[in-house]
Amino acid sequence: MSEPIALSMSHVYKKFRRGEYHDSLRDLIPALARRAMRAGGEALEGGEFWALRDVSFDIQRGEAVAVIGHNGAGKSTLLKHLTGLIRPTQGTITVNGRLSALIEVGAGFHHDLTGRENVFLNGVILGMSRAEIRRKFDEIVEFSGLKEFIDTPVKRYSSGMFAKLGFSVAAHMEPDILIVDEVLSVGDYAFQTKGVEKMRSIARSGATVVFVSHNMKAVRDLCPRAILLKHGTLVQDGSTSDVLRTYMEHAKANTSAESAPDVRLVGVQMRGAEGERLDFEAGETADLEIEMEAGPAPAQVDVQVTILNEYLWEAFMVSSRALGLGPIELEAGARRKVGIRLDLHLAPGTYHVCVALRKADLTKVYHRVEAATTFVVTSATEIWGICHLQPRVIAA
């Protein structure tokens, strides 16, 4: 297994058909007749669309690569091609090594069987041999934390327990290539941390990892390289920070082009004393000005502000309700500004302001913009981290 390239896709195209297929023999005859008269392959028929369009990349052995993109961009389709579940319409896919996919937690679990029985069932489905599972059984149960319930039928498990057991089995595969699709969000916080750590150890052991997730922090932590998909096309392939920046910018551009929501975010600005500013000293006071506009009906709004650092960690989050503002009343079609004054005790770096306009009873999000505005914080003192605690030496 000396091949340097573990995974490769070369000019892969995949088209799907919208709507229903012919599900009965009654429709087959006319369909076959139609197919016989067509050449097939290249062009799009009525109702078809490209799920993947000219996707090419190479992944070296031992690399950890993230695949990110908006919902429907083709991430899961791409993964399914790598696992061999789907064949491309055009193009080639090469896989060198034992591949295991963590696409669904608890795949194959049967409700009537006990946890123990399901561990074996799930394990063989994922590609482990029964001997291997027997060897690792205690470890798997230990990791899941479900030792006392392992002989209970899984239909009695809570959804969290279900997910933990499933993830635990999958985490103990020893593949050459590991493909993970959005499964790190199962379980409670403690379990999630364990999950990320396990993924990291698998990556460190030399396995090639392909990771699809919306959890930007996890992506950032695990993968130095990322691939950005947009509507089936590979838009960018490079360092994770670069790709994430593009992703955020695209997200911002998209949301401002949305068709009339009930309440719309019109403008977000960071302002100093004299007006709009993008640079601030650590500790300076800045005003965050948020302007919103109601749609055809009056609304009651709660504003949630999140400030993210360049690693997309949430440095600070507050809502208008927490500030004692109460529901912000908007008449139909009216505009309104909300201003929040902040003391920017932040470490030097780039920060993004994310604003979400929510219904006052918190049942609905009207409009959310991930990177509504960006500002930079500088500091004379060399400070590193999340916040600036204004250190002064009092004794030496």
Partner: protein, 260 residues
């Protein structure tokens, strides 16, 4: 064939799927494993009833050998019905796994046949004990049944591969299969034996299952070796069915995940 080597890598999966089907079928049920005996006994009962009625009309007697023959045929036929029925639905029933996981999907129809084979084994043991008790077994000749059972499984797997792949794309296949299975009792020698058909006996050959059942019954309780011609015919059709069914299955497998 490389497909077979790949499948053998997953033999643990085959075992687990078959095991799962059997386990789930009998968990939380009162009668449990007795169902495996109950079904064939119902068919035996129906066969015996028809024989007795026929005997009344034709003024002949029903011999113990006739009844023994019906028992053997019923058990084999119950296997085929179960294997074909579960086999046809095996992919659709496991649609979640077919759509999301990548592994050789023939595991499903094969596991369906294996779980039906388990039921068959239970019923067969009971039948053999009864036959031995009443002295109807053909002695050492009955051991020929073992290679014939292999042919039986091969044929069932062939059917299951063929039907399951078709059923995935055309969901009415399972209804067609049900209808055929219901009426099959008329053109399969279960409650009658092929020699009762007289000059129409060769027509039975159109049903690939028929000569096999006839041959197995002959060998186990018939005290005679079956005609070599029928033996060869059964074996050849089974192998063709397996090879053809498997080839079609693997050809269509590429589209399973998208179409299920």
């Amino acid at each position: 064939m490389s497909h077979v080597t790949k499948l053998l890598e997953y033999k643990g999966l085959l075992y687990m799927l078959a095991w799962r089907d059997v386990r789930v079928r009998y968990k939380q049920s009162v009668m449990g494993i007795l169902w495996a005996i109950f079904m064939p006994m119902l068919i035996v009962g129906a066969g015996a009833l028809v024989r007795f009625i026929l005997a009344e009309f034709t003024q002949t007697k029903v011999s113990a050998e006739d009844l023994a023959s019906v028992m053997v045929r019923a058990v084999v036929w119950a296997f085929f019905m179960s294997a074909i029925r579960f086999g046809t639905n095996s992919l659709v029933t496991n649609s979640n796994l077919v759509a999301r996981m990548a592994f050789p999907k023939e595991g499903f129809p094969i596991a369906a046949v294996l779980s039906s084979l388990f039921d068959f084994a239970v019923a067969a043991v009971v039948v053999i004990l009864v036959l031995a008790a009443i002295g109807a077994l053909s002695g050492a000749q009955a051991l020929w049944a073992l290679p014939l059972l292999v042919v039986m499984v091969v044929q069932a797997v062939g059917f299951a591969l063929l039907m399951s792949s078709l059923n995935l794309f055309f969901r009415d296949v399972k209804y067609l299969v049900e209808i055929v299975l219901t009426y099959a009792i008329f053109f399969t020698p279960v409650i009658f034996s092929s020699d009762m058909l007289g000059k129409w006996e060769p027509l039975l050959l159109l049903n690939p299952v028929a000569p096999l059942i006839e041959v197995i019954a002959d060998v186990v309780v018939g005290h005679r070796m079956p005609p070599l011609y029928w033996l060869a015919y059964s074996t050849v059709t089974s192998v063709l069915l397996l090879v053809g069914g498997y080839a079609l299955f693997k050809q269509l497998e590429a589209k399973f995940a998208e179409r299920i």
